[in-house]
Symmetry: C2
Subunit: 389 residues, 2 copies
Amino acid sequence: MSDPTAAEGVRQRNLARLLRLVHLEGPLSRARLTESTGLNRSTIADLVAELVREGLVVERAPDPSRRVGRPSPVVAADARVMAIAANPEVDALTIAAVGLDRGIPVRERIELDRLLSPDETARLIAERVEAWRAGELADAHIVGVGLAVPGLVRAADGLVRNAPHLRWADAPVRDLVAEATGLPTVVGNDATLGAIAEHLFGAAAGFDDVVYLNGGASGIGGGLIVHGQPLLGAGGYTGEFGQNRPGIASATDRRADDGVLEDEVSRARLLAAVGLHAADEPALAAAVSAAGPTAAEEVARQRRILSTALANAVNALNPSIVVLGGFLATIAAVDVPGLATMVQEQTMSATSEQLLIRVASLAEDRLLIGAAEAAFAELLRDPGGAARS
Amino acid sequence: MSDPTAAEGVRQRNLARLLRLVHLEGPLSRARLTESTGLNRSTIADLVAELVREGLVVERAPDPSRRVGRPSPVVAADARVMAIAANPEVDALTIAAVGLDRGIPVRERIELDRLLSPDETARLIAERVEAWRAGELADAHIVGVGLAVPGLVRAADGLVRNAPHLRWADAPVRDLVAEATGLPTVVGNDATLGAIAEHLFGAAAGFDDVVYLNGGASGIGGGLIVHGQPLLGAGGYTGEFGQNRPGIASATDRRADDGVLEDEVSRARLLAAVGLHAADEPALAAAVSAAGPTAAEEVARQRRILSTALANAVNALNPSIVVLGGFLATIAAVDVPGLATMVQEQTMSATSEQLLIRVASLAEDRLLIGAAEAAFAELLRDPGGAARS
DNA sequence: ACCGGTTTGAAGCCCCGCGCAACAAATCTC
DNA sequence: GAGATTTGTTGCGCGGGGCTTCAAACCGGT
């Protein structure tokens, strides 16, 4: 049996447009949906009815709008449609349920005193999902699981090639979690998923070409958005800016011999400079802003090297915005316009004259939102397909 | 009047698919078109008939195929549909007509002893077009002009922001040429258009994620293909790898203080090392391969620095292939696997294990083909639109 | 409170574009 | 030359979105 009709593709795309709109922009009246899509009133009514039948959106009474004319019912993503988001890290495993309405009804952070294997991680996630299904999420429709993993993830099959801090190598995490939970699962690099979240709901909202760099305890990772979509590259390993070798103008700025970016610009060096052994991000930020001249010089050194790395990325990719997260946000926040100036001095003027540099705006939810988004991706691409299956 | 029907979009896309297929892959039988598109025989017949009516393709008698079954007529892009491609350079202005069938019926290289202004360039192009229209291209249908400019080109409006070697700055080249010729005109960066040509017809054919670097007399430029499409970035200024500052492990390898890639890796330094003042690319290649130890050391030095720049790009973009053109091809060709190994040593293993490094395969036609492709882009996006207007 | 103006939902109809089935045509093999 | 095979051709059906008409629900002014 071939396709009933290729025009099915039109229906699919229109359903996807609507679902994506209410997912990304929140509840919208049917009238506003006709506006944004350019589709006919009657068509919108039909499409919305189908999405309601499939349990993906709900229609509720019109909001009082104090405008003339017949009020238009409001269409909202069904909060009961959910994705499970998980983020395995060195010291904890965070699991949450994220609604299609972007709500996070449940979240749990499991503190760990040792590293978990991929199997153990999958079992813990499955356990949580089962418990939630019997309790808080009894009436939920869980569409899938998204994992944000700190390491290289092969896009094609969700194989974790190398996650050094978790000591995972060539682990078929997608399949393990899918089997344990019985849910379709997607696995992504944490920085890439963070970039997606910042692009959709954070500091990079509204920008189609984004370079996102995150500074974590373990190194520097990044994610790229081009043409409004995540750039995965041939294998799925884009954005590994931490492994880049930027030029270092002054030999006195060099700390590591033939070092990569994350050897020179690192949270550990920053902590050492402010005289701390461990600190969370706000504490580090406070220490940096209150620091003496020695620490200030280390911050300045890291900013110089970072600026070259950013300039290299800007020359190559000409993004409209660069978003910095983690400790990179901390050293950038000291003087964001100053950092922008340093970057501009190392790029062609046309490339960077419109360039924005911002610190990330989403808090620790970023990875969970990005992971959930990845889990929702298939549903948002083909809303009918999920219902059909 | 709004859209007659939004399903027009389906028709448009299907027409575009067919036209793009015969344009990119050459003449194809209707049977093969039904195969590749998945559309119905009857639909293909209808679509092809429309393209024939619009004068974009021609149908000819079936090729003898020595296969059973009724022979299928062959559909080919109409050679009379043409784009004018032009490439202003320091020493010459090259103008050609490129057919939708990828033929180049006429080409002219106008040698120059001085730099031309944008106005003069536009006038020369218009002059050629007019002459050709009265002669060789009497029965041609010229759909537009594409310019490959060595400099920064704003994608939105074809304004040449800065082409240092031509001494053009903020020149509205697209509008100048469009007005002089009366033809729709697109302007692009030469390296970006070269990347498009290599992607469609050259060394990168079949790869969806391409990093292309070209070494010219004036510097190093690049073009990026991601998801099979050119990456233009926010302003259109992607691929300026020549302005990047790669790390230089050994201080003795450094020649320029705080120099950018094209200060360290340059055609001029290469010429000096082999003891030549000027040479075209084949002559330089011959000199390099026949050179003594001093020259070999300069080649090796440039290769080391180039490998770091490439590794930075590979870490960030995870391309499936890196294509090198111009003198970069020359220094790479000395030992391509060796260069690949050097790049791999500076990238994460997963990122580069599948990575291909190749030298560009298209000759001097590359820029003309890329420019023509840009001029054809609108037609290939909406075949009906061009006929309607 | 009522009435016109305005906006939008609801229902029926039309048309576009593609798929499908049946038939005809052109080729190969034996 | 007959059967098999492949593909063009033709007519018909159907899905899906647009359009038109009518009704419903809101506003404001008198």
